[in-house]
Amino acid sequence: MAIELTLNQRPVSFAGDPGMPLLWYLRDHARLTGTKFGCGIGYCGACTVHLDQVAVRACVTPMNSVAGRTVTTIEGLARGSTLHPVQQAWIDEDVAQCGYCQAGQIMAAVDLLRRKPQPSDADIATLTNLCRCGTYPRIRRAIRRAAARLNGERA
């Protein structure tokens, strides 16, 4: 029986192996390649997406666990041509070097800011996504910048 889910606000259906990780459904079947493969064991965070608005590691999230749920990937974060404040902050702080891990970093940061609208350094330090280029200091700045903007919007 096909697995039905909502992907970036659209209903989709998947009839393949229910044990296939969400990552490979996204990349090979939904052709959404913004979500990246880094380790395959849920450790590095390059594949971070949102499942019902909570960050998960798509490489260890089987398709049968997402049935009936809502998945948002990096491609679904912006509203039309308007970037999410976290995406904009990533540009403003010039975070990316190779850029490969950054989709996962952004998805993890959006999740953090939902939980901690004014994150402390310790809160930011709970992010475990790996960056081989060493962009962490700029990621911290981008998160603070995005937090300020999001809090300003709420105020």
Partner: protein, 755 residues
């Protein structure tokens, strides 16, 4: 080191080919004269057609859009931004009006030997050479395009070109009239390009060079559409995973693929050959079994279902422990002398004091965040490669050698690359794609898992360094000896037969060579069966740790301040010969300056809290100069924290300060990550590490802020991708010594402080 990074012997006689783009705009490309037609896409070879679509550095559309081609492999070093900046500067256009387009690998057919030519010049990424290579020729490309636009305006106005200038994508007449580049593009495209070089801007007129400039395609990155090599696809593409023999030079003894073939989606299973035992590794690294399937997941399930008995080779019982024992034993024997000045033995006989220490460095893997992969579509007469590369020229040669296709018939796209660090100077994964695609008779994307990556790398050599210095009665350094027992970089390396035995392991001309009268650098090869490669700032990273830490030891033994000792040895500012990559000269004053700057910025010499310490290190890397000053705090229990981390760098003229800051920040964190925790070890002939949990890159929680200070300079720029890493490990262990009195001589640091 740029081995493999430079693909094509290029004539430096280049000129600008001008032609109309399909949209009627101006295309200007820097290319050999005979490629004027090909660059326009008028030649009938497919390679030229591809070049016609994207193949120019400058294209001005009628709507005023200024499109600049980026020629390099963007691996995170920022060349997709910095190289077009050079062109835009001399074209004299506002950066905000520029659209950057990635160019493909630009090799097209030629009527002359060897039958092909480069359209764009050097496109590889290695040895921090992109900016120095592009500094002259890409600025010329921009300046020549500007020259044509001025000529076009001169014709249009029937005025001498001498009365015209440019400003912000307009040609401006002395009387105030203007014509936009967009208005002039069509006419300019029909003009004869200048015969030789045209004058470049005075430095004071720069509007783009020197300005902080963000990553050109940052928006694509943050919306997930940047398109990395692994994201490539073509119609009908299959995905292959390869089960590789875990033993170097080993092979498949028995294969039962019954279960694998039953996995839904698996199309084919077949063995692929590895390198011949003992022969140079010219293609793929290991024998194995390819599982070709409809998608990654079925290929992976198919691979897991294989039943393979591997046949180990000679090194099956070897280990890192026995390698280290062999290295220590080797140090008892005389080695190959890489450099000898004066008489080290006489200095030793006359010494008031001899300082000696042994430093050990592990094998390292590259662990690019994007694992190796290659998508290859072979159609019989053509090939298309989409992969993350550092050496597209090497990939082109590999495919040509293995398929017999002429190189211009091999199309190579240059997507964004998820990290390089030297791993992709090798094209073993491209060789695998050829082997698999040939047999599968379909376009195939070979994908590596992280486990495949850590266990099948071209590893940074392992080495044991024995350093000794002799001091006279006044504490002056009279002799310096650096003996390196290491896994030779050139072991089984293809194309390095003519290199000296010690290449990549001994820095014969590195500081303090030339600054100490009696000096000797010596190499002792020790073997272990695995492949070696270039790893970010390969030689500087390998030698700066022992040399710069030992300098600290010598300073303490001599009763001198470590900074004062270094500055004293560097002496008067002067050029010394440096024969290896980054030469031909090394300037002692530039190294002294970055050391002094780092020391000043961190407040070197100030009183520190208990169990805090500051360590310094400086190094000359690939033509650039960098120093780190690191302050650490170490708890009684051995808990280490980095309190401050300062990096000073002199890379000549600053092209993009924001990009440079990123490179030195990132290099610093890479250096900390590596020094603290990373190593590859071998046990019973197999790599022990498998994935990030046992190759633990630094995470956010442990990443300090990095204060980067760039030296203002008018000297031609070096690159910047590698200079930020070599001095981190020695500055860190020097700081730990200053804080605790404990001298760490082995990397990674791991739990040595608490032990």
């Amino acid at each position: 080191m740029s081995a493999g990074g430079r693909a094509i012997p290029l004539s430096r006689r280049e000129f600008i080919a001008v032609s109309m783009s399909a949209a009627g705009g101006l295309m200007v490309s820097l290319c050999p004269a005979r490629w004027a037609g090909a660059a326009a896409g008028t030649a009938d070879t497919p390679g030229a057609a591809e070049a016609g679509r994207l193949g120019a550095f400058v294209r001005i559309e009628p709507d005023g859009r200024i499109v600049i081609g980026a020629r390099g492999c963007e691996i995170g070093q920022g060349v997709r931004t910095s190289l077009p900046m050079l062109i835009a500067e001399e074209l004299d256009v506002p950066w905000s009006a520029v659209t950057v387009e990635q160019l493909p690998y630009g090799l097209v057919a030629s009527g002359e030997a060897p039958g092909f030519k480069s359209l764009y010049g050097p496109q590889g990424a290695g040895g921090s050479t992109s900016i120095p290579d592009g500094w002259g020729e890409l600025r010329q490309a921009g300046a020549r395009a500007r020259w044509l636009l001025i000529q076009a305006a001169a014709e249009s106005w029937r005025e001498p070109a001498a009365r015209l200038s440019t400003h912000a994508a307009q040609v401006v007449h002395a009387d105030g009239r203007t014509l936009s580049y967009a208005q002039l593009a069509q006419r300019a495209a029909g003009l004869t390009p200048p015969a030789g070089d045209v004058p470049l801007k005075e430095r004071g007129a720069y509007r783009i060079i020197g300005q902080p400039t963000r990553v050109a395609d940052a928006r694509d990155i943050v919306i997930g559409s940047a398109g990395f090599g692994l994201d490539g696809s073509v119609p009908g593409m299959l995905t292959a995973l390869i089960a590789r023999c875990p033993y170097f030079d080993g092979s498949v003894a028995e294969l039962d693929d019954t279960q694998a073939r039953r996995v839904p989606g698996v199309r084919q299973v077949f063995p692929i050959p590895g390198p011949r035992a003992g022969a140079p590794i010219e293609r793929n690294l290991a024998a194995g079994v390819a599982v070709v399937a409809e998608d990654f997941w079925s290929a992976r399930r198919g691979r897991e279902a294989l039943r393979i008995t591997w046949k180990p080779a000679a090194g099956a019982a070897d280990s890192s422990a026995s390698l280290e024992a062999r290295a220590l034993a080797a140090l008892a024997r005389p080695g190959t002398i890489a450099r000898e000045d004066g008489d080290v033995a006489a200095a030793r006989r006359g010494a008031a004091r001899v300082v000696q220490a042994t430093y050990t460095e592990p094998l390292l893997a590259h662990a690019t965040m994007e694992p190796p992969h290659a998508l290859l579509d072979l159609t019989g007469t053509r090939a298309l490669l989409i992969a993350s590369l550092q050496s597209p020229g090497g990939a082109s040669r590999m495919i040509s050698d293995m398929t017999g296709l002429a190189r211009p018939d091999i199309e190579i796209r240059l997507p964004r690359v998820g990290g390089g660090f030297g791993r992709r100077l090798q094209n073993d994964f491209v060789a695998e794609a050829v082997l698999v695609a040939q047999q599968a008779r379909a376009p195939v994307k070979v994908v590596w898992t992280r486990e495949d990556d850590l266990r099948n790398d071209f590893y940074r050599p392992f080495g044991v360094h024995r350093l000794s210095a002799t001091l006279d009665a006044q504490g002056r350094v009279t002799g310096w000896e650096h003996r390196v027992a290491a896994t030779a970089r050139k072991y089984r390396a293809a194309g390095m037969e003519d290199e000296p035995e010690w290449i990549g392991c001994v820095d014969r001309d590195g500081f303090p060579a030339g600054c100490v009268a009696n000096y000797r650098a010596e190499f002792l090869p020790v073997e272990l069966d695995l492949a070696r490669g270039w790893w970010r700032a390969p030689l500087p990273t390998f030698v700066a740790f022992p040399v710069e830490a030992f300098l600290d030891e010598v300073a303490h033994a001599a009763g001198q301040d470590p900074l004062a000792l270094r500055l004293g040895l560097l002496g008067a500012p002067r050029e010394l010969s440096y024969r290896d990559h980054g030469g031909p000269e090394f300037h002692t004053g530039r190294l002294a300056q970055v050391l002094r700057r780092a020391a000043r910025e961190i407040g070197y010499g100030r009183k520190l809290p208990p169990r805090h310490g500051i360590g310094l290190a400086g190094h000359f890397t690939h033509g650039g100069y960098a120093a780190h000053a690191i302050e650490v705090a170490v708890t009684e229990q051995g808990g280490l924290s980095v309190v401050r981390c300062v990096c000073a760098a002199d890379v000549g003229e600053i092209v993009n300060p924001l990009g440079l800051d990123a490179q030195f920040m990132g290099g610093t964190i890479d250096g900390l990550s590596t020094a603290l925790n990373l190593q590859i070890t071998v046990k019973e002939g197999r790599i022990e590490q498998s994935n990030f949990p046992d190759y633990p890159l630094l995470r956010m929680a442990a990443a300090p802020e990095v204060e980067v200070h760039l030296i203002e300079s008018q000297l031609p720029p070096s690159g910047a991708g590698e200079m930020g890493i070599p001095t981190v490990a020695p500055a860190l262990v020097n700081a730990i010594f200053a804080a605790t009195g404990r001298r760490l001589r082995r990397l990674p640091i791991g739990d040595q402080i608490s032990a």
